[in-house]
């Protein structure tokens, strides 16, 4: 494991939770207001311009990115990042989206810790979406390596947002080691299946009432994002559903609307389900009620 760094980054231009300008329904993680409950990935768009238009339409709270070995030319000729960096700069000045690096592709705690430290230097942020994959077919997180990496990165001052399963005990332990939120999958990455284990997710929501829980991965439709927010989850993170839409800009807008609708519905309060029908229109004084 790497030594504890001598510094951490705190360059957020967004307001603190105590800021009077923060709305009463602001999403607050680790004392910082996150500008939106829809978080978007930056991958798989057909062009940098398409990516930026989609981000404009989605108004995400976080935009995810990553780091890989690169040649000198790849570092110099990085069109996507050049555009995204400029967009993020403007966005952060306005208190909007910020960057969320990830450790995608890591299979062990040691790999994830090293890559996280690299991304901290690259992106100048302490936020990290921690991914440690345990199965290459399902891309299911490895809970044991994930917890070990989370413990170490929290010790090093990172703000660790772990991509995990909906396992209650795992999520509790991730919170116990200092993670300011947990991010259980809705379904395997890239599948678009939505919330596959609603019962398990609801158990998580009910047992960890004070925790920030973000549904990360597996969402394919705006209705699935709305469902996640309706059920009380705090935000959603997705990429493929927008980037692989024939019209990513329109789809990003649709997801933004769905997230807003779901959150508003959750705050409003959902009606209780019933087993039998109950007429909406009053039957009192019906002139021919049950007359034959």
């Amino acid at each position: 494991m790497s030594d504890t760094p001598s510094h951490t980054y705190d360059r957020s231009s967004t307001a603190l939770a105590s800021d009077e300008s923060a709305s009463s329904d602001a999403l607050v993680i680790d004392g910082e207001v996150i500008a939106g409950r829809l978080w978007l990935g930056s991958s798989m768009y057909r062009s940098p311009d398409c990516m930026l238009q989609a981000l404009d339409a989605g108004q995400p709270g976080f935009v995810t990115a990553s780091a890989r070995r690169q040649t000198a030319r790849q570092i110099t000729d990085n069109g996507y990042w050049g555009c995204l960096e400029q967009w993020l700069g403007q966005s952060q000045q306005q208190g909007k989206a910020r960057i969320l690096p990830n450790t995608a592709g890591c299979n062990s705690a040691s790999e994830a810790v090293l890559l996280a430290n690299m991304t901290r230097e690259l992106f100048e942020t302490d936020w990290i979406k921690l991914e440690v994959i345990g199965d290459d077919y399902t891309l299911q997180p490895d809970p044991f390596e994930l917890l070990e990496a989370a413990r170490e990165l929290n010790r090093q001052g990172f703000k660790v947002l772990p991509y995990c399963t909906e396992d209650l005990v795992l999520c509790q332990k991730l919170l116990d080691v200092g993670c300011p939120a947990v991010m259980p999958w809705g379904a395997p990455i890239g599948t678009g299946r939505g919330l596959q284990n609603i019962a398990g997710l609801m158990t998580l929501r009910e047992r960890l009432q004070d925790a920030v829980i973000v549904i990360d991965a597996g969402l394919g439709k705006p209705s699935q994002a709305a469902q996640a927010l309706e059920l009380g989850f705090d935000a959603v993170l997705l990429n493929t559903a927008v980037a692989h839409s024939p019209d990513p800009v329109a789809m990003a807008k649709a997801f933004a609307g769905a997230v807003e609708a779901g959150r508003t519905a959750h705050i409003a309060g959902l009606m209780a389900e019933r087993d039998s029908a109950q007429a909406s229109t009053p039957v009192l004084d019906m002139p021919f009620w049950h007359q034959k």
Partner: protein, 75 residues
């Protein structure tokens, strides 16, 4: 002296080699005196991130593994 950069072997026959000199020779925007012109690159030596201010003072040894990473899009 064998040095591995991003997993590829390089053979260096000269005198002591600094990390700054290696990166410069590989075409990265780093001068021999350690000035880093590319903001978005990070170098690691044998699995530990090296501060940009230490590129000149970091001397490489036989078998060292240097990784240079840059930004990519991600989900």
């Amino acid at each position: 002296m064998n040095i591995y950069i991003n997993g590829e072997r390089r053979i260096h026959d000269g005198e002591a080699l600094s990390l700054a000199q290696l990166l410069s020779a590989e075409g990265y925007a780093v001068s021999d005196d350690g000035e880093v012109k590319a903001a978005r690159m990070v170098a690691a030596l044998n699995g530990s991130v090296i501060s940009k201010t230490s590129y000149v003072s970091t001397t490489l040894s036989e078998g060292d593994r240097v990784d240079v990473v840059g930004v990519i899009t991600g989900g």
